[in-house]
Structure formats: structure tokens, C-alpha cells
């Protein structure tokens, strides 16, 4: 299992051809207190860089973009019920959705943990 990162602060946990996606601790600090999350529907086909989800803090809405192309196979209902999970456990409990990876090549452009740490330093 590998964890990769995007330059706009998403993490992907890759297990076989499934990617679990969330946003990083850095991102949640920038957002502030999250009050609402809108997730894509299961079955939706997402293209890399397409707006996939919305996170609302008290003050503003932010888009979360699909880091890779794939089909949404599962979404995190617990997150919808408790948006504040993004602030308390962004790396684990606050996963957004799982994608069936369409093209493994999409993963090549992503950062590993060391590179992401350097990116946010």
C-alpha cells in the first residue's frame, strides 16, 4: 500500500487498483472549521482535475478536484454526517471517496511523502 500526494493537498492511498482519497492536514488548517461536505455520487466517472467534491468552512466553499481519472466506487457517509472529521482526522477517518483507478499512469505525476513535506515546508 502506498500513499501519494498532489500539489494541491490531497492524499491518495493506493491498494491494488483502488485509490482512497482525502485532503491533508495542511489543507484542513488552511480551510479552518469545516461545516459541510458534498461528495460525488457512487458510480460517477471522474476525470483527472475535474471538480469532484465541495468542502465548506464557516466562511467559504472550496472545491476538491479528482487527482486521477477513475470511477467512484464508495463514498464516506460518516464524513457527510460529521464534516468536522476533516479537521480532527484528515488523514484517516475523513477520507472522501474511493476511486477505481482507470489509468495507473496517472499516479506517476504524484508526490511521495518526502516530496509533499518539502512542498509544504
Amino acid at each position: 500500500m502506498t500513499t501519494l500526494y498532489t500539489s494541491d493537498h490531497e492524499w491518495l492511498r493506493i491498494e491494488g487498483d483502488v485509490a482512497t482519497i482525502g485532503i491533508t492536514d495542511y489543507a484542513q488548517t488552511q480551510l479552518g472549521d469545516v461545516v459541510f461536505v458534498e461528495l460525488p455520487k457512487v458510480g460517477r466517472a471522474l476525470k483527472k482535475a475535474e471538480a469532484a467534491a465541495v468542502v465548506e468552512s464557516v466562511k467559504a466553499a472550496s472545491d476538491v478536484y479528482a487527482p486521477i481519472t477513475g470511477e467512484v466506487i464508495e463514498i464516506n457517509d460518516a464524513l457527510v454526517a460529521d464534516p468536522a472529521l476533516i479537521n480532527s482526522d484528515p488523514g484517516k477517518a475523513a477520507w472522501f471517496f474511493k476511486l477505481k483507478i482507470a489509468n495507473k499512469g496517472d499516479l506517476d505525476g504524484l508526490m511521495d511523502e518526502a516530496a509533499y513535506k518539502a512542498h509544504t515546508a
Partner: protein, 391 residues
Amino acid sequence: MLATERQPDSAETALKRVPLHDLHVARGGKIVPFAGYEMPVQYTAGVLKEHLHTRASAGLFDVSHMGQITLTAKSGRVEDAARALETLVPQDILAVPHGRQRYAQFTSDAGGILDDLMVANFGDHLFLVVNAACKTEDEAHLRRHLSGTCIIEPLPDRALIALQGPKAVEVLSKHAPTIAAMKFMDAGPHTVQISDQAIGCFVSRSGYTGEDGFEISVPAKDAERLAAALLADPAVLPIGLGARDSLRLEAGLCLYGHDIDTTTTPVEGALEWSVQKSRRTGGARAGGFPGADVIQKQFETGAPRRRVGLRAEGRAPVREGAALYASETSPEKIGAVTSGGFGPTLNAPVAMGYLPTSLSTEGTAVFADVRGQRLPLRVSAMPFVPNGYKR
């Protein structure tokens, strides 16, 4: 993500600093540009906690970016300053007693609102507090119209600190025992004692949160000392502009430039309560302010639209700019949201907007376009959260 995070452009780097700037930074304030100033949008607690803390205990807000201006009649009589100001506002200023303040609006010839402000009677002059974004133009407006009979003096060397919440009176009275007897909208000079230093302040029992609280005008050189002393009280947390906005929204209070502006009259803005009978048709000093003909007519025959409170039926916030519709499918836009967000005390989305007067009654169902979907809302009474004013 975070594509909506806006980076300041070079035009905004020439931002002004408030006297308490260093204190904000030292306390973990996240500094953002606002009305030409560097201001803290939140501190380490975050918007949610800062909001809830203010309603449960006491929050300290730096509002020094706002304009403080005195208006003194050349005659030396406050009545003359009041009559002069009445040529620019639809409020009864003459009736404001020494030691009291009133909410007012500067109106335009078209009956729109140029700014909203507080006007206090300090015995021999009037003390005005105006919005930061409008203060330069407000001063020019006062000078343009009143410099024949009045002396207009901005007070840029004073800071303005608000202490709001149910514990505010307990905290402040430790340093200024005389404030405990104040009623909501009382205003006047009070000495605030910080250790061995007696600081002359102007204090009003008012604010922008819907809670009991005080606004304290203090010389800039004494501001840090005062703020630090109040923040040393365990009941007090520093509160940023983010929570200031969610607090005033839950209180149903207008934000100038958003809920009221030059295109809205006080009647459309649901501010008729602030226009006293003496200034309306048939009153002792009816009219005589800019836009009086438009505004009087609206008092008589009604205004076409009205500012209303809006509660979402779901969990998604409905924000400023969202178009409003009468049904899920109707293509005709009937109004718009002018302020909206999440209310931490309500634990639900809240908004304000304008609807046709015929659709402005409490309980009316309307729909907001949010990201291409029509979300159901209902017209709601304001304030959304009960006030804590000590009348």
C-alpha cells in the same frame, strides 16, 4: 483543492495596520486584508470556537479599522450639531439624550444608503462610528454638507475595542466599575483602570454580535495595555473577523456593502424601525434628508422588495450572490442572497437576502441556486438567535 484561496495582489500590499497589530500576530492571528487594513480573520481557536465562546463567555474584537469622528456645532450646542446631522440622516438625532446613542444611515438623493453608523450624544458634541470601508467618503460627505455650521474631526489616534458576550460586563467592570450600570445603547466617557494607569475611554453598551457587550474607544497608545489586560481574564478570548461575521449574521445585523448599499432604501432594508416618527411624513421634522421623497413614499405605499432572513432546509450553506427563485423550476430570478454562511450557534446555515415584498412573510418557501441545484429555503424572522441586550 484550495483553488478559492485568493492571494493578495500588489495593489493590496500597501495595507494599513491597526494599533494592536503586533498583539494580533503574537496571539496567533491569521492576518488578511480587510477594508485596506491587515486584520485577523481568526486566531488559534478558529472561527467556530471563537463564535461559540463569544455567546457563552466574552470575546475581544479589535475594530480599530472603523472610523471615529466627532461632530461639533460652531455654536457649541449639541442641538445644533444634531439638527445639522439630521440633514444627512433619516433619524431623530435631536431626541437622542446626552449619554445615549442611536443607529443611523447616511442616505443618498435616490434614497439609497451610503453607510450605516452609530451616533452618540456626548453633551457638547456628537460622536460617530462609521464603517471602515466608507470612513474616508463619510468624512468628505460630512465636510461637504456641514462644514458651514460644524467642525468635523476624525479621531485616527484612537483604537476601538469591542468586548462582547454574557461575561463582558463582569470582566470590564473589574477595570471600570461605572460601566456596570449602563443600559443597552448608553454611551459616554468612562475611566478604565489598568494597574496604576487610569485611561479615559468612550464606552457604549452596544456591539455587532447580538450579545450584551461594550465598545471601547481608547487612545491608540493605551490600546495594547487595555487589550492585554482584558485578554488576561480567563473568560476572554480574542475573536477575529470571521466569527464577527457569523455572530452578526445570526443576530440579523446588516453588513454595509452587502445587505444594504446605495441601491437599497432603509425601508427595503427592513430598517423602518430606525426611522423615528418625527422624521416621517406628518412628523415634527419630516423629511429634510437626502432621498426623503423616495423613502416617505415607500413608508406610505410600501417598497417593492424587502430584506429577509432565510433558513435552509438542508445542511449546505447558501452564500452571498446565490439567486433566489419561487420554485424548483421557475426560470425567473426573484431575488438574491446578500449574506450567507453557517451559524455555529444554530448549527445550521443562515442567510439574508432580498425578496419581493409579497413573498417576504415568515415561512414563505423559496429556492436558492447553489452550484446548479435548487435548494429549499424558508423566510425566517430575525434575529436567528435571541439577543442578549440589557435594556
